[in-house]
Amino acid sequence: MVEGSADAFCCTGCEVASLIISDAGLERYYAERTAFAPRPEAQGGVDWNALPIAPGADGRCETRLMVEGLRCASCVWVTERVLERTPGVTQATVSYATGRATLRWDPAQVDLAALARRIGALGYRPRPLGVEASADRSLLLRLGIAGFAAMNIMLLATTIYAGWLDGMDQRYAALFQWAALVLATPVALWCAQPFFAGAWSGLRHGVLHMDLPIALGVAILYLQGLVATLAGREGYLDSLAMLVFLLLAGRVLESRGRRRAAEAATALAGTVPRTARRLRSETRDADGAGAAIESMETVAVRDLRPGDRIDTGTGEEIAADGVVLEGSAQVKMALLTGEAAPVLLGPGDRVVAGTVLVEGALTTLVEAVGEDSVVHRMAAELALAQDRGTAPTSADRIAPWFTAITLLVASLTLASWWMLRGSDVAIARTVAVLVVACPCALALSQPLAAAAGLGAAARRGLLLRSSDALLRLGHVTVAGLDKTGTVTTGTLSVTAASDPTLRLAAGLERYSAHPIATAIVAETARRRIPLPAAAEVREVPGQGISGVIDGARYEIRSSGPGTIEVLGVQGVIGTVQLGDVARADSGSVVRQFEQLGVRAVMITGDHSEVAERFGRDAGVGEILARTLPAAKSDWVRQQQAGGERVLFAGDGLNDGPALAAADVGIAMARGAASSVLVADGIISTESLAPVIAGIRAARAAERVIHSSQRRSIVYNVLAVAAAAAGLVNPLVAAILMPLSSSMVIWNAARVERLVRAEEACEQ
């Protein structure tokens, strides 16, 4: 009973969740939520209490977890409150943006496993976090200090410039100049340090990139300021502080965009200590018979050895590669084979670590663990394939030319003015040339537009790891789409069933955790059929379910692949067809790929008839059927050899090599951990549309970068010419530089507008 509404719960999981919520006095959640929480699933496999968490000085433990499935701010609220009201918990905060929960608890009263179970019972999925990169606070500190110094130096400089008109006592001018120098010193020596470090590491590796002309500019500006102050003249210290401030702001924006994707990937691929139940047989001679007695112990997966026997039950992940000895079970191999439907395994069949046992129980003989396992060998292949290196950005390609031309113009200026007017004038004008040549606007063009592009893509569900990946995405010509889990939902859905049949099936299946049950109950909810109450429900694993609905006895059982029958007393009433279905938006995504000039190819291991049916559903013209997993990466390389730039989107373990080989690899957030690790981007929603948004954002960012770069080069050429002619003094530089930079900033803000305009055209 929720808020007086009398609908029945779809499953016991939801009922438990609602009990927890109302026990904690949080019924308000139901009134305030803006999205429905997912159905609670059985949590299996993660050994929460094995995580290395030591109590702090006050005896409290603290850790951070990833919570998946948070759909609205109310989800966050209810999770926080339920945790806070658990005895023993001293603090619980959950972040909606990052999905992180920070917990502090008293280990004497409650343990982490209990807290994780509580989160799980609400319908969200807690996951342990891997090693996390901490927020880059030092860059922010540098930015803050540079901004503080820049504002103050500008005030001082304004006073000095005003003194040119009004006449100013030389003593005060000198005082202000010295104050500016004091403020500018930390800016040049500490705040600008990342640019010096970048330039130096570039030089050492023989690459001249954008940091070099910037570092040169900062050094010259500061030295000129120092010399000028000592000599009692005015310098360019205000330009120096402004320049460093703006460039750091560009860096901070870019790194914030990158951090989000990095965080998501770390969380999804977090290394998890898992446990397994090992069987141990002891021969006890004491009772004379020498009979073997079986006992069970829980051990960490890393302690398993080949030859061990392990038990796996419903909802658990199989811990190690091996052979089934006893039992039978439905096992979901989706991450490995890309097949959505669970496979029935029995004695003699091989199992692979990481696959999930959907229903049943198995005893398996361990054959390979750790580095010998299938998963590890695939990961090793990936590590080899992944070495992609970073491509130089367009700004970096300009940088060597830019530096060379600047130095050439500077020496020409020095030589010609020396001959015409002597050393003093020559040095002053050469310094002016070097000062205005500092490519602030040029260097800002890329990070600002790329940050805007990364943001635009992230808002639409595509988290990209780097601006490089974004720019590569804009150039792709072919998109290879894995079928299961990418073009299709990768889960079972009802493809055909009449309403009355579905209603009966749902009544019987509502208590089951099997994917077929989930699909039937979800379809019933979608068609708005009220769930009937069922009595005397009995489930015989592998055979079927029977129970009493509306006073009559019904039974459901499997009848061939992807079909179940509902039987009444008189015989078959109807059938429910289940299968993997194309995502609702696959068709429009494929059409948009074509509009963007990208060839879409669907790649699958299925037979050609099945593949073609899905291809038709999704509107994909080109289909590669019966592809072996290894052949996916070969396909990527073939295309690349033919001069294409390849985008590959996939979700399975077997997609890893192709994701790594492609120019841009994009993984689904719910996919295999290894696919998330090697991919350049992660789709955070259950849809393919973010890829399209990403391509649009990339192309918009690229256009903006080029237009900004063209304009800043024009600015630099004009300013250098003016400086060589002796028309530039510190005041002129102080006005010109922020002007050119704000032109670049304003331009970067156009990225989002360009993407929106394209989206508007589409609708």
Partner: protein, 45 residues
């Protein structure tokens, strides 16, 4: 113009206070998460 002798230390002192506040705020993690606090105030209880 003797005012400058008083104003300068005052200005520097004020500036130093704000710079210190900023550094303390960054070290404290105030700027680590800029997305959640605006959501959080809607759920005061």
């Amino acid at each position: 113009m003797r005012a400058v002798i008083f104003l300068l230390p005052i200005a520097v002192g004020l500036g130093a206070i704000f710079a210190w506040l900023f550094i303390a705020a960054v070290r404290d993690g105030q700027f680590d998460d800029l997305d959640d606090p605006p959501e959080r105030i809607l759920h005061e209880d």
